[in-house]
Every structure is written in C-alpha cells, then in structure tokens.
C-alpha cells in the first residue's frame, strides 16, 4: 500500500511542478518548478526499481540542466512581463486543444491495451541490482549506440562552444609574440645628460607598433 501512496504523491507533485513551469510569471520560478518536477520523477523511477536512472535524473537535470537554465536566465536581461503579453488570447484555444488531446489520450489509456506481463523487474528474490543489469546490457548489446551517444554529446559540446565563443574587439589584451620579439634596441635609448643642462631632446623614437598585427587571425 505504501508504494501506491508514494506513487500518487510523486505523480501529483510532478503535475504541480509542471503547472508551475507553464504558469510562472518569472521563468526563474519556472526553473524551480521544473526542479521540483524532476525530483518527483526521480522518486517515481525509484518506485519502478530503476535506481540508476533515478539518480541519473537527479544528477543531470537538477545538477546540470537546471543550473544551465538559471545561468542563462541570469545572464540575459529581459523584461519578462512583456514576454507574457500573448498569454491570454491563446488561452481558450490552447485549453480546447489540450482538453481534446487529454481526453483522447486518457481514453486510449483506459482501453486496457497497456498491460503488464511477467514479474516486474527486481521484484524477484536474489536478482542482480538494477545497475548490474543495465551494465550487463549496455556495454554488450548496446555498445555501439552507447558510443554513438558519446559522439552526440561531443558534437553538442563543440557546437555550443563554437556558437557562443567570441573575441571582443574592444578589449586590450597581450600580444605575446610581440612581447617576446621586443629587443632593447627597439625600445630603449641611452643618453648622457651633462650636469646642469638636462637631457638633450630625443632624436630617437620607439619603433612604431604595427596595429594590424595584433593577433586578429583567429577572430571570427
């Protein structure tokens, strides 16, 4: 009986979090609702004996993705009230479509076509743990998709870096090769002022700096 109560608690919490996401005036609170949803989903996964995925959800979504959302929200400076302007006009149409879709889905689900068969995973006595089972399958039968997933992540990482990386033109920064190539004769002049007369005016001036060569070659 306890798993059932927990299931309904987590499921209702999930829906409440989703509701907070779509109705939040400030997306910052929306992100918090999303975190709440994902923690509830992790609880549901625990109830389904999927411990590995449950902890993975907490780590990836709460630990990484929510933080990324918060980071982007804090970086950009937006009047979120203006973004909400089109909310009310779309509400009736959206609700009608949503009600129709929900009715269809609930009807389809209640037909009883989706039934469980066999003994649920990990309910058997002495069965290997969820992580052992997943590992045994993931690194043998699904080894190639696993590596492809790694390639997907690498591509995403490179893409995100290339999209957002930029060199600002208005910032002064060191040109290291110019610094290393400086010699004493380029930048210093020795004079011998006679006592009581002051220094003679310099006939020498430092070599003009070539502005073009200021490391522009890797600008986008």
């Amino acid at each position: 009986m306890l798993p059932d109560i927990l299931f309904y608690l987590f499921a209702i919490g999930l829906l409440l979090g989703a509701g907070a996401v779509i109705t939040a005036r400030n997306p910052m609170y929306g992100v918090l609702g999303m975190i709440f949803s994902f923690i509830n989903a992790a609880g549901l996964f625990m109830l389904f004996y999927a411990e590995f995925l449950s902890l993975l959800i907490v780590m990836i979504y709460v630990g990484a993705i929510a933080v990324m959302f918060l980071f982007v929200l804090m970086t950009i400076d937006i009047d979120f009230v203006k973004l909400r302007e089109g909310f009310a006009p779309y509400l009736p149409a959206g609700l009608i479509v949503a009600a129709a879709l929900a009715a269809e889905l609930l009807l389809a689900a209640s037909l009883g076509l989706f039934t469980g068969v066999g003994t649920p995973i990990a309910a058997a006595e002495g069965a290997p743990t969820n992580i052992e089972q997943l590992g045994a399958v993931l690194f043998t039968d699904y080894a190639l998709p696993f590596q492809a997933a790694g390639m997907v992540l690498l591509t995403a990482m490179v893409g995100a870096i290339i999209l957002t990386h930029r060199r600002r033109k208005d910032v002064k920064r060191q040109n290291i090769s110019m610094q290393i190539n400086r010699t004493a004769s380029d930048s210093m002049a020795l004079t011998k002022p006679v006592s009581g007369q002051g220094a003679t005016p310099l006939y020498w001036s430092p070599k003009p700096v070539d502005k073009v060569a200021s490391n522009d070659e890797d600008d986008q």
Partner: protein
C-alpha cells in the same frame, strides 16, 4: 510492489504531464526559455512512460532507451541554450517573433 497502481494508471498520469507541457508551449510562445523547459517536461513524460513499461513488462529495453533519450535531451538543451544566448546577443531579446531574419 504496487497494490493498485497499474501501467494504465502511470500512462494516464504521463498523458496529463504531456498535455500540460504542450499547453505550456502554446501559452508561452514568446519566451524561448520556457518553451525549452516545456520540451524537457515532454521528454520527461516519455521517459516515465518508458521506465514504467520497462518495470511492468519486465524488460530492460525501456530503461536503455531512456538513457539514450536523456543523452539526446542534454545535447539538445546545450545547443538550444547556446542559440538563445547568441540570439539575445544579436537581437537584444529572446522573443520568438524577432526570429524573422530569413523572412520565412
């Protein structure tokens, strides 16, 4: 073990979650960040469906598929937020209406 909860119950709940996320996309159609959050909720609904089916039908395939969906969701989100940052830098806003440079 569940006493009364069946696969049908789980699928009904995830259907409601999916519909909520879709409504969120329709209602917040100007704010790209909220749209991305709603997409995450959509994927979460499918993930819960897969894990529940995997549990009730004693088949590990659903959990494996969930693993790959998580990977793709993370990749999509990284690119999506990078595009949002870039879009904000170029247009000064994140309204979807402003993305009309290609006059489509």
């Amino acid at each position: 073990m569940f006493a009364t909860v069946t696969l049908t119950t789980v699928i009904m709940f995830t259907s409601l979650l999916l519909v909520l996320a879709l409504v969120g996309i329709v209602l917040n159609r100007k704010n790209v960040i909220v749209i991305l959050m709603c997409l995450e909720l959509l994927l979460l609904a499918t993930n819960i469906n897969l894990v529940a089916t995997s549990h009730f039908r004693a088949d590990l395939g659903g959990q494996i598929l969930t693993f790959f969906i998580l990977t793709v969701a993370a990749a999509e989100l990284a690119i999506g937020l990078a595009i949002v940052t870039l879009f904000y830098r170029n247009t000064g806003g994140i309204e979807v209406d402003k993305a009309d440079m290609m006059k489509g």
